[in-house]
Protein backbone atom coordinates (compact mmCIF):
# COMPACT_ATOMS: atom_id res chain seq x y z
CA UNK A 1 0.00 0.00 0.00
CA UNK A 2 1.50 3.28 -1.05
CA UNK A 3 -0.71 5.61 0.93
CA UNK A 4 -0.61 8.35 -1.68
CA UNK A 5 -3.29 7.03 -3.98
CA UNK A 6 -5.66 9.90 -3.35
CA UNK A 7 -2.88 12.38 -4.15
CA UNK A 8 -2.06 10.50 -7.33
CA UNK A 9 -5.70 10.53 -8.37
CA UNK A 10 -5.90 14.28 -7.81
CA UNK A 11 -2.67 14.81 -9.76
CA UNK A 12 -3.97 12.84 -12.75
CA UNK A 13 -7.26 14.73 -12.85
CA UNK A 14 -5.49 18.06 -12.41
CA UNK A 15 -3.08 17.27 -15.21
CA UNK A 16 -5.80 16.29 -17.68
CA UNK A 17 -7.71 19.43 -16.76
CA UNK A 18 -4.70 21.72 -17.07
CA UNK A 19 -3.58 20.22 -20.37
CA UNK A 20 -6.88 21.00 -21.98
CA UNK A 21 -6.61 24.75 -21.59
CA UNK A 22 -2.87 25.23 -21.47
CA UNK A 23 -1.55 27.91 -23.77
CA UNK A 24 -4.85 29.63 -24.46
CA UNK A 25 -5.17 33.29 -23.52
CA UNK A 26 -8.46 32.93 -21.68
CA UNK A 27 -7.33 29.71 -20.03
CA UNK A 28 -9.78 28.30 -17.54
CA UNK A 29 -12.46 30.75 -18.67
CA UNK A 30 -12.94 28.46 -21.65
CA UNK A 31 -14.28 25.83 -19.31
CA UNK A 32 -17.37 28.01 -18.97
CA UNK A 33 -17.31 29.95 -22.22
CA UNK A 34 -17.15 27.04 -24.62
CA UNK A 35 -20.24 25.15 -23.52
CA UNK A 36 -22.08 28.46 -23.07
CA UNK A 37 -21.54 29.49 -26.68
CA UNK A 38 -22.16 25.96 -27.91
CA UNK A 39 -25.52 26.05 -26.21
CA UNK A 40 -26.22 29.50 -27.59
CA UNK A 41 -25.62 28.30 -31.14
CA UNK A 42 -27.78 25.22 -30.72
CA UNK A 43 -30.49 27.22 -29.02
CA UNK A 44 -30.68 29.81 -31.77
CA UNK A 45 -30.97 27.10 -34.41
CA UNK A 46 -33.30 24.65 -32.76
CA UNK A 47 -35.61 27.08 -30.99
CA UNK A 48 -37.36 27.36 -34.35
CA UNK A 49 -38.39 23.73 -34.08
CA UNK A 50 -40.00 24.17 -30.67
CA UNK A 51 -43.42 23.24 -31.99
CA UNK A 52 -42.18 19.76 -32.83
CA UNK A 53 -41.64 18.91 -29.17
CA UNK A 54 -45.31 18.83 -28.36
CA UNK A 55 -46.70 21.22 -25.81
CA UNK A 56 -43.49 22.95 -24.70
CA UNK A 57 -42.98 26.71 -24.82
CA UNK A 58 -39.90 27.86 -26.78
CA UNK A 59 -38.12 28.63 -23.50
CA UNK A 60 -38.89 25.20 -22.11
CA UNK A 61 -37.79 23.67 -25.39
CA UNK A 62 -34.39 25.32 -25.05
CA UNK A 63 -33.81 23.65 -21.71
CA UNK A 64 -35.35 20.42 -23.05
CA UNK A 65 -32.81 20.36 -25.86
CA UNK A 66 -29.76 21.32 -23.82
CA UNK A 67 -30.42 18.94 -20.95
CA UNK A 68 -30.66 16.04 -23.41
CA UNK A 69 -27.42 17.14 -24.96
CA UNK A 70 -25.44 17.30 -21.71
CA UNK A 71 -26.62 13.85 -20.62
CA UNK A 72 -25.57 12.38 -23.95
CA UNK A 73 -22.25 14.26 -23.79
CA UNK A 74 -21.63 12.88 -20.30
CA UNK A 75 -22.29 9.38 -21.61
CA UNK A 76 -20.14 9.87 -24.70
CA UNK A 77 -17.16 11.29 -22.79
CA UNK A 78 -17.41 8.79 -19.95
CA UNK A 79 -17.45 5.80 -22.26
CA UNK A 80 -14.74 7.13 -24.59
CA UNK A 81 -12.33 8.45 -21.97
CA UNK A 82 -12.88 5.46 -19.70
CA UNK A 83 -12.08 3.06 -22.53
CA UNK A 84 -8.96 4.97 -23.60
CA UNK A 85 -7.64 5.49 -20.08
CA UNK A 86 -5.32 2.48 -19.93
CA UNK A 87 -3.96 2.77 -23.48
CA UNK A 88 -3.30 6.48 -23.01
CA UNK A 89 -1.08 5.78 -20.02
CA UNK A 90 0.71 2.82 -21.59
CA UNK A 91 4.03 4.66 -21.63
CA UNK A 92 3.79 5.21 -17.90
CA UNK A 93 2.59 1.72 -17.08
CA UNK A 94 5.56 -0.03 -18.63
CA UNK A 95 7.90 2.07 -16.52
CA UNK A 96 6.40 2.00 -13.06
CA UNK A 97 3.93 0.12 -10.96
CA UNK A 98 1.13 2.09 -9.35
CA UNK A 99 -2.52 1.34 -8.75
CA UNK A 100 -3.77 1.08 -12.34
CA UNK A 101 -7.37 1.65 -11.36
CA UNK A 102 -6.54 5.28 -10.68
CA UNK A 103 -6.21 6.13 -14.38
CA UNK A 104 -9.70 4.76 -15.05
CA UNK A 105 -11.37 6.68 -12.23
CA UNK A 106 -9.44 9.83 -13.24
CA UNK A 107 -10.83 9.65 -16.77
CA UNK A 108 -14.36 9.14 -15.47
CA UNK A 109 -13.92 11.99 -13.00
CA UNK A 110 -12.98 14.29 -15.86
CA UNK A 111 -16.25 13.43 -17.61
CA UNK A 112 -18.11 14.10 -14.36
CA UNK A 113 -16.44 17.49 -13.91
CA UNK A 114 -17.39 18.41 -17.46
CA UNK A 115 -20.94 17.38 -16.78
CA UNK A 116 -21.01 19.43 -13.57
CA UNK A 117 -19.89 22.55 -15.45
CA UNK A 118 -22.40 21.97 -18.24
CA UNK A 119 -25.17 21.41 -15.74
CA UNK A 120 -24.30 24.61 -13.91
CA UNK A 121 -24.53 26.60 -17.11
CA UNK A 122 -27.80 24.98 -18.08
CA UNK A 123 -29.26 25.72 -14.66
CA UNK A 124 -28.30 29.35 -15.06
CA UNK A 125 -29.84 29.46 -18.54
CA UNK A 126 -32.99 27.81 -17.20
CA UNK A 127 -33.25 30.35 -14.39
CA UNK A 128 -32.77 33.23 -16.84
CA UNK A 129 -35.50 31.77 -19.02
CA UNK A 130 -37.84 31.77 -16.04
CA UNK A 131 -38.00 28.04 -15.36
CA UNK A 132 -38.29 27.30 -11.66
CA UNK A 133 -35.83 24.62 -10.63
CA UNK A 134 -36.81 22.53 -7.63
CA UNK A 135 -34.50 20.97 -5.06
CA UNK A 136 -36.20 17.64 -5.59
CA UNK A 137 -35.62 17.86 -9.33
CA UNK A 138 -31.92 18.69 -8.95
CA UNK A 139 -31.48 15.97 -6.33
CA UNK A 140 -33.03 13.45 -8.68
CA UNK A 141 -30.76 14.58 -11.52
CA UNK A 142 -27.74 14.04 -9.26
CA UNK A 143 -28.96 10.53 -8.48
CA UNK A 144 -29.31 9.78 -12.20
CA UNK A 145 -25.83 11.07 -12.90
CA UNK A 146 -24.37 9.08 -10.05
CA UNK A 147 -26.02 5.99 -11.52
CA UNK A 148 -24.60 6.76 -14.96
CA UNK A 149 -21.18 7.43 -13.46
CA UNK A 150 -21.15 4.05 -11.74
CA UNK A 151 -22.39 2.26 -14.86
CA UNK A 152 -19.71 3.84 -17.01
CA UNK A 153 -17.05 3.14 -14.39
CA UNK A 154 -18.09 -0.52 -14.40
CA UNK A 155 -18.10 -0.67 -18.20
CA UNK A 156 -14.69 1.01 -18.39
CA UNK A 157 -13.18 -1.74 -16.26
CA UNK A 158 -13.91 -4.06 -19.19
CA UNK A 159 -13.46 -1.79 -22.21
CA UNK A 160 -10.16 -0.28 -21.05
CA UNK A 161 -8.70 -3.80 -20.95
CA UNK A 162 -10.34 -4.96 -24.19
CA UNK A 163 -9.00 -1.97 -26.10
CA UNK A 164 -5.45 -3.15 -25.44
CA UNK A 165 -6.20 -6.47 -27.12
CA UNK A 166 -8.57 -5.26 -29.84
CA UNK A 167 -7.63 -1.79 -31.04
CA UNK A 168 -10.59 -1.73 -33.41
CA UNK A 169 -12.75 -0.87 -30.41
CA UNK A 170 -11.92 2.82 -30.94
CA UNK A 171 -13.77 2.83 -34.25
CA UNK A 172 -16.51 0.50 -33.13
CA UNK A 173 -17.29 2.61 -30.08
CA UNK A 174 -17.45 5.77 -32.19
CA UNK A 175 -20.09 4.15 -34.37
CA UNK A 176 -22.04 2.77 -31.44
CA UNK A 177 -21.98 6.15 -29.71
CA UNK A 178 -23.19 7.83 -32.90
CA UNK A 179 -26.01 5.31 -33.10
CA UNK A 180 -26.84 5.90 -29.45
CA UNK A 181 -27.05 9.62 -30.11
CA UNK A 182 -29.84 9.21 -32.63
CA UNK A 183 -31.47 6.45 -30.64
CA UNK A 184 -31.63 8.78 -27.64
CA UNK A 185 -33.86 11.36 -29.32
CA UNK A 186 -31.75 14.32 -28.22
CA UNK A 187 -32.85 16.78 -30.90
CA UNK A 188 -36.30 15.49 -31.70
CA UNK A 189 -39.26 14.25 -29.66
CA UNK A 190 -40.09 10.57 -29.58
CA UNK A 191 -43.41 11.29 -31.34
CA UNK A 192 -41.49 12.34 -34.44
CA UNK A 193 -40.29 8.74 -34.85
CA UNK A 194 -42.43 6.24 -36.81
CA UNK A 195 -44.52 4.15 -34.43
CA UNK A 196 -42.80 0.84 -35.16
CA UNK A 197 -39.34 2.25 -34.32
CA UNK A 198 -40.36 4.03 -31.14
CA UNK A 199 -39.47 0.99 -29.02
CA UNK A 200 -35.79 1.72 -29.70
CA UNK A 201 -36.02 4.97 -27.80
CA UNK A 202 -38.38 3.52 -25.21
CA UNK A 203 -35.97 0.80 -24.15
CA UNK A 204 -32.76 2.75 -24.56
CA UNK A 205 -31.38 3.51 -21.08
CA UNK A 206 -29.76 6.77 -22.19
CA UNK A 207 -33.04 7.97 -23.69
CA UNK A 208 -34.84 7.13 -20.44
CA UNK A 209 -32.22 8.99 -18.38
CA UNK A 210 -32.56 11.97 -20.69
CA UNK A 211 -36.33 11.91 -20.37
CA UNK A 212 -36.11 11.67 -16.58
CA UNK A 213 -33.61 14.56 -16.38
CA UNK A 214 -35.80 16.72 -18.63
CA UNK A 215 -38.89 16.13 -16.53
CA UNK A 216 -36.95 16.77 -13.33
CA UNK A 217 -35.37 19.98 -14.57
CA UNK A 218 -38.28 21.55 -16.43
CA UNK A 219 -41.28 20.27 -14.51
CA UNK A 220 -39.69 19.27 -11.20
CA UNK A 221 -41.19 15.80 -11.56
CA UNK A 222 -39.63 12.49 -10.53
CA UNK A 223 -40.36 10.09 -13.37
CA UNK A 224 -38.94 6.67 -14.29
CA UNK A 225 -37.73 6.23 -10.71
CA UNK A 226 -38.17 2.46 -10.79
CA UNK A 227 -35.88 2.23 -13.78
CA UNK A 228 -33.33 4.54 -12.16
CA UNK A 229 -33.24 2.52 -8.94
CA UNK A 230 -32.97 -0.76 -10.82
CA UNK A 231 -30.14 0.59 -12.95
CA UNK A 232 -28.42 1.88 -9.83
CA UNK A 233 -28.37 -1.65 -8.42
CA UNK A 234 -27.16 -3.08 -11.73
CA UNK A 235 -24.45 -0.41 -11.91
CA UNK A 236 -23.16 -1.26 -8.46
CA UNK A 237 -22.96 -4.93 -9.46
CA UNK A 238 -21.23 -3.91 -12.70
CA UNK A 239 -18.58 -1.99 -10.74
CA UNK A 240 -17.95 -4.92 -8.40
CA UNK A 241 -17.72 -7.52 -11.18
CA UNK A 242 -15.79 -5.14 -13.44
CA UNK A 243 -13.26 -4.44 -10.74
CA UNK A 244 -12.64 -8.15 -10.18
CA UNK A 245 -12.16 -8.67 -13.92
CA UNK A 246 -9.91 -5.62 -14.16
CA UNK A 247 -7.68 -6.62 -11.26
CA UNK A 248 -7.31 -10.10 -12.69
CA UNK A 249 -6.41 -8.93 -16.18
CA UNK A 250 -4.34 -5.85 -15.40
CA UNK A 251 -1.28 -7.71 -14.11
CA UNK A 252 -0.56 -9.07 -17.58
CA UNK A 253 -1.50 -5.97 -19.55
CA UNK A 254 1.97 -4.40 -19.79
CA UNK A 255 3.15 -7.16 -22.16
CA UNK A 256 0.42 -6.38 -24.66
CA UNK A 257 0.89 -2.66 -25.22
Amino acid sequence: MRGNELDLYKQFVKTIFKMRYRGSILGFLWVLLKPFFMFLILFSIFSHFAGAAGNLTPKQYAVYLLSGLIIYTFFNEGITWGMNSIMERAGLMIKINFKREIVVISALTMALINFGINFLIISIIALILGISITTLGVGYIFLICFTMFLAMYGISFFTSIWLVYVRDLTHISELVLQLMFYASAVFFPITAIPQRYQFIVKYNPIAIYIQAVRDALILGEVNHWKFVLLSLIISVILVIVGRLYFNKKIVKIAEHF
Binding site: D7, K95, V166
Partner: protein, 243 residues
Protein backbone atom coordinates in the same frame (compact mmCIF):
# COMPACT_ATOMS: atom_id res chain seq x y z
CA UNK B 1 18.41 -17.70 7.16
CA UNK B 2 19.99 -14.82 5.38
CA UNK B 3 18.23 -11.48 5.19
CA UNK B 4 17.45 -10.75 1.58
CA UNK B 5 15.97 -7.70 -0.14
CA UNK B 6 15.05 -9.37 -3.41
CA UNK B 7 14.69 -13.08 -3.91
CA UNK B 8 14.30 -14.39 -7.46
CA UNK B 9 13.45 -18.09 -7.65
CA UNK B 10 13.41 -20.13 -10.87
CA UNK B 11 12.00 -17.27 -12.92
CA UNK B 12 11.21 -17.87 -16.59
CA UNK B 13 9.58 -15.48 -18.99
CA UNK B 14 8.59 -16.05 -22.59
CA UNK B 15 7.05 -13.47 -24.88
CA UNK B 16 4.77 -14.35 -27.74
CA UNK B 17 5.49 -12.21 -30.74
CA UNK B 18 2.86 -12.42 -33.49
CA UNK B 19 4.40 -13.42 -36.81
CA UNK B 20 2.07 -11.52 -39.11
CA UNK B 21 2.12 -7.94 -37.95
CA UNK B 22 -0.12 -6.72 -35.22
CA UNK B 23 -2.37 -9.33 -33.62
CA UNK B 24 -4.51 -6.78 -31.85
CA UNK B 25 -6.85 -6.02 -34.73
CA UNK B 26 -10.06 -7.65 -35.83
CA UNK B 27 -8.77 -7.65 -39.40
CA UNK B 28 -6.55 -10.58 -38.59
CA UNK B 29 -9.46 -12.52 -37.18
CA UNK B 30 -11.82 -11.67 -40.01
CA UNK B 31 -9.41 -12.71 -42.70
CA UNK B 32 -8.34 -15.92 -41.05
CA UNK B 33 -10.98 -16.82 -38.51
CA UNK B 34 -10.05 -20.50 -38.33
CA UNK B 35 -6.32 -20.28 -38.54
CA UNK B 36 -4.60 -20.50 -35.26
CA UNK B 37 -2.60 -17.40 -34.65
CA UNK B 38 1.06 -17.92 -35.31
CA UNK B 39 3.52 -16.73 -32.76
CA UNK B 40 7.22 -16.72 -32.48
CA UNK B 41 8.18 -17.49 -28.95
CA UNK B 42 10.93 -15.45 -27.48
CA UNK B 43 12.33 -16.66 -24.20
CA UNK B 44 13.80 -13.72 -22.34
CA UNK B 45 14.62 -15.48 -19.08
CA UNK B 46 15.07 -19.16 -18.29
CA UNK B 47 15.13 -20.60 -14.80
CA UNK B 48 16.89 -17.66 -13.21
CA UNK B 49 17.52 -17.65 -9.47
CA UNK B 50 19.42 -15.26 -7.22
CA UNK B 51 19.08 -13.41 -3.93
CA UNK B 52 20.08 -9.84 -3.25
CA UNK B 53 21.11 -9.25 0.34
CA UNK B 54 20.01 -6.20 2.27
CA UNK B 55 22.33 -3.32 1.55
CA UNK B 56 23.95 -5.07 -1.37
CA UNK B 57 24.83 -3.34 -4.64
CA UNK B 58 23.96 -5.95 -7.25
CA UNK B 59 24.64 -5.30 -10.94
CA UNK B 60 23.36 -7.04 -14.04
CA UNK B 61 25.38 -7.10 -17.25
CA UNK B 62 25.02 -8.83 -20.59
CA UNK B 63 24.64 -7.98 -24.25
CA UNK B 64 21.44 -6.65 -25.79
CA UNK B 65 18.49 -9.03 -25.76
CA UNK B 66 19.65 -11.18 -22.88
CA UNK B 67 16.68 -10.24 -20.69
CA UNK B 68 18.12 -7.50 -18.49
CA UNK B 69 15.21 -5.13 -18.91
CA UNK B 70 12.71 -7.96 -18.64
CA UNK B 71 14.29 -8.94 -15.34
CA UNK B 72 14.00 -5.40 -14.01
CA UNK B 73 10.38 -5.17 -15.10
CA UNK B 74 9.55 -8.45 -13.39
CA UNK B 75 11.27 -7.37 -10.19
CA UNK B 76 9.43 -4.03 -10.39
CA UNK B 77 6.08 -5.76 -10.71
CA UNK B 78 5.36 -4.53 -14.24
CA UNK B 79 5.57 -7.97 -15.84
CA UNK B 80 4.60 -11.21 -14.16
CA UNK B 81 6.86 -14.24 -14.59
CA UNK B 82 5.50 -17.34 -16.39
CA UNK B 83 7.16 -19.58 -13.86
CA UNK B 84 8.90 -18.98 -10.59
CA UNK B 85 8.44 -16.21 -8.10
CA UNK B 86 9.95 -12.95 -6.99
CA UNK B 87 9.86 -11.89 -3.38
CA UNK B 88 10.56 -8.34 -2.30
CA UNK B 89 11.48 -7.46 1.25
CA UNK B 90 10.99 -3.72 1.79
CA UNK B 91 9.83 -0.78 -0.29
CA UNK B 92 11.06 -1.01 -3.84
CA UNK B 93 11.13 1.96 -6.20
CA UNK B 94 12.00 1.34 -9.84
CA UNK B 95 13.86 3.89 -11.94
CA UNK B 96 13.63 2.32 -15.36
CA UNK B 97 13.64 5.84 -16.70
CA UNK B 98 14.11 9.17 -15.00
CA UNK B 99 11.16 11.52 -14.99
CA UNK B 100 8.37 9.07 -15.73
CA UNK B 101 5.16 10.92 -16.47
CA UNK B 102 6.91 14.23 -17.12
CA UNK B 103 4.60 16.29 -19.24
CA UNK B 104 6.55 18.76 -21.40
CA UNK B 105 3.69 21.28 -21.37
CA UNK B 106 3.67 21.53 -17.59
CA UNK B 107 6.02 23.74 -15.60
CA UNK B 108 8.95 22.26 -13.70
CA UNK B 109 7.11 22.70 -10.43
CA UNK B 110 3.96 21.00 -11.71
CA UNK B 111 6.06 18.15 -13.03
CA UNK B 112 7.73 17.71 -9.64
CA UNK B 113 4.31 17.13 -8.11
CA UNK B 114 3.18 14.86 -10.94
CA UNK B 115 6.33 12.76 -11.13
CA UNK B 116 6.72 12.75 -7.36
CA UNK B 117 3.26 11.34 -6.72
CA UNK B 118 3.73 8.75 -9.48
CA UNK B 119 6.88 7.64 -7.65
CA UNK B 120 4.90 7.27 -4.44
CA UNK B 121 5.40 10.55 -2.56
CA UNK B 122 2.43 12.30 -1.00
CA UNK B 123 1.54 15.90 -1.70
CA UNK B 124 2.45 16.87 1.87
CA UNK B 125 5.90 15.34 1.47
CA UNK B 126 6.42 17.14 -1.82
CA UNK B 127 5.40 20.46 -0.27
CA UNK B 128 8.12 19.85 2.28
CA UNK B 129 10.79 18.80 -0.23
CA UNK B 130 10.08 21.15 -3.11
CA UNK B 131 12.73 23.74 -2.20
CA UNK B 132 15.39 21.12 -1.61
CA UNK B 133 14.55 19.46 -4.93
CA UNK B 134 15.03 22.68 -6.88
CA UNK B 135 18.11 23.52 -4.88
CA UNK B 136 19.72 20.15 -5.55
CA UNK B 137 18.80 20.32 -9.23
CA UNK B 138 20.21 23.86 -9.39
CA UNK B 139 17.05 24.96 -11.16
CA UNK B 140 15.61 27.44 -8.65
CA UNK B 141 15.01 30.14 -11.26
CA UNK B 142 13.25 27.74 -13.61
CA UNK B 143 10.47 26.47 -11.35
CA UNK B 144 7.74 28.08 -13.43
CA UNK B 145 9.19 27.29 -16.85
CA UNK B 146 7.55 24.50 -18.87
CA UNK B 147 9.90 21.53 -19.07
CA UNK B 148 9.60 21.53 -22.87
CA UNK B 149 11.96 24.52 -22.74
CA UNK B 150 14.48 22.56 -20.66
CA UNK B 151 17.60 21.04 -22.10
CA UNK B 152 17.69 17.28 -21.67
CA UNK B 153 20.36 17.74 -19.01
CA UNK B 154 18.15 20.08 -17.00
CA UNK B 155 15.23 17.67 -17.20
CA UNK B 156 17.39 14.78 -16.01
CA UNK B 157 18.77 16.82 -13.13
CA UNK B 158 15.25 17.70 -12.02
CA UNK B 159 14.09 14.10 -12.35
CA UNK B 160 17.05 12.77 -10.39
CA UNK B 161 16.51 15.32 -7.63
CA UNK B 162 12.93 14.09 -7.23
CA UNK B 163 13.94 10.46 -7.41
CA UNK B 164 16.37 10.66 -4.51
CA UNK B 165 13.62 12.07 -2.28
CA UNK B 166 11.54 8.92 -2.61
CA UNK B 167 11.78 6.83 0.51
CA UNK B 168 12.80 3.34 -0.40
CA UNK B 169 14.78 0.36 0.79
CA UNK B 170 15.47 -1.04 -2.65
CA UNK B 171 16.33 0.86 -5.82
CA UNK B 172 16.04 -0.62 -9.29
CA UNK B 173 18.12 1.38 -11.75
CA UNK B 174 18.16 0.91 -15.49
CA UNK B 175 20.93 2.87 -17.16
CA UNK B 176 19.79 6.08 -15.54
CA UNK B 177 23.33 7.35 -15.57
CA UNK B 178 23.71 6.97 -19.31
CA UNK B 179 22.10 10.38 -19.71
CA UNK B 180 23.37 13.64 -18.33
CA UNK B 181 26.76 15.28 -18.45
CA UNK B 182 29.89 14.54 -16.46
CA UNK B 183 28.96 16.83 -13.61
CA UNK B 184 25.57 15.20 -13.23
CA UNK B 185 27.12 11.75 -13.30
CA UNK B 186 29.48 12.83 -10.56
CA UNK B 187 26.49 13.83 -8.45
CA UNK B 188 24.86 10.47 -9.08
CA UNK B 189 27.97 8.58 -8.04
CA UNK B 190 28.27 10.68 -4.89
CA UNK B 191 24.72 9.68 -4.11
CA UNK B 192 25.63 6.04 -4.73
CA UNK B 193 28.56 6.31 -2.37
CA UNK B 194 26.25 7.64 0.31
CA UNK B 195 23.69 4.94 -0.28
CA UNK B 196 26.14 2.09 -0.32
CA UNK B 197 25.27 -0.35 2.43
CA UNK B 198 22.10 1.54 3.36
CA UNK B 199 19.93 0.62 0.41
CA UNK B 200 19.83 -2.48 -1.70
CA UNK B 201 20.45 -1.59 -5.32
CA UNK B 202 19.72 -3.60 -8.43
CA UNK B 203 21.61 -1.91 -11.23
CA UNK B 204 21.68 -2.62 -14.95
CA UNK B 205 24.38 -0.99 -17.00
CA UNK B 206 26.71 -1.26 -19.94
CA UNK B 207 29.13 1.05 -18.15
CA UNK B 208 31.49 -1.66 -16.92
CA UNK B 209 33.67 0.82 -15.01
CA UNK B 210 30.87 1.82 -12.69
CA UNK B 211 29.74 -1.80 -12.39
CA UNK B 212 33.25 -2.77 -11.33
CA UNK B 213 33.59 0.09 -8.91
CA UNK B 214 30.30 -0.06 -7.03
CA UNK B 215 29.01 -3.61 -7.20
CA UNK B 216 29.26 -6.21 -4.49
CA UNK B 217 28.25 -8.93 -6.90
CA UNK B 218 27.49 -9.09 -10.59
CA UNK B 219 25.01 -11.19 -12.55
CA UNK B 220 25.98 -11.92 -16.14
CA UNK B 221 23.08 -12.88 -18.39
CA UNK B 222 24.31 -14.75 -21.46
CA UNK B 223 22.81 -15.16 -24.89
CA UNK B 224 22.14 -18.88 -24.43
CA UNK B 225 20.02 -17.98 -21.35
CA UNK B 226 22.56 -19.36 -18.93
CA UNK B 227 23.97 -17.03 -16.30
CA UNK B 228 26.80 -16.55 -13.87
CA UNK B 229 27.04 -14.71 -10.59
CA UNK B 230 30.30 -13.65 -9.04
CA UNK B 231 32.58 -10.88 -7.88
CA UNK B 232 32.61 -7.81 -10.13
CA UNK B 233 36.25 -8.16 -11.11
CA UNK B 234 36.01 -11.78 -12.17
CA UNK B 235 32.73 -11.48 -14.06
CA UNK B 236 33.45 -8.15 -15.74
CA UNK B 237 36.86 -9.45 -16.86
CA UNK B 238 35.41 -12.54 -18.47
CA UNK B 239 32.51 -10.60 -19.97
CA UNK B 240 34.91 -8.09 -21.53
CA UNK B 241 36.74 -10.89 -23.26
CA UNK B 242 33.60 -11.93 -25.19
CA UNK B 243 33.87 -8.91 -27.45
Amino acid sequence: MEEYAISVKNVSKTFKIPLNGHANTLQERFINPFRKKEFREFQALRDLSFDIRKGEFFSVIGSNGTGKSTLLKIVSGIYVPDQGAVKINGKLVPFLELGVGFNPELTAKENVYLNGTILGLTKAELNEYIDEIFHFAELKDFANVPTKNFSSGMAVRLAFSIAIKVKSDILVLDEVLAVGDGEFQKKCYEYFDNMKGKKSILYVSHALNSVNKYSDRVLWLKEDRSYEIGSPKEIVDRYSKTF
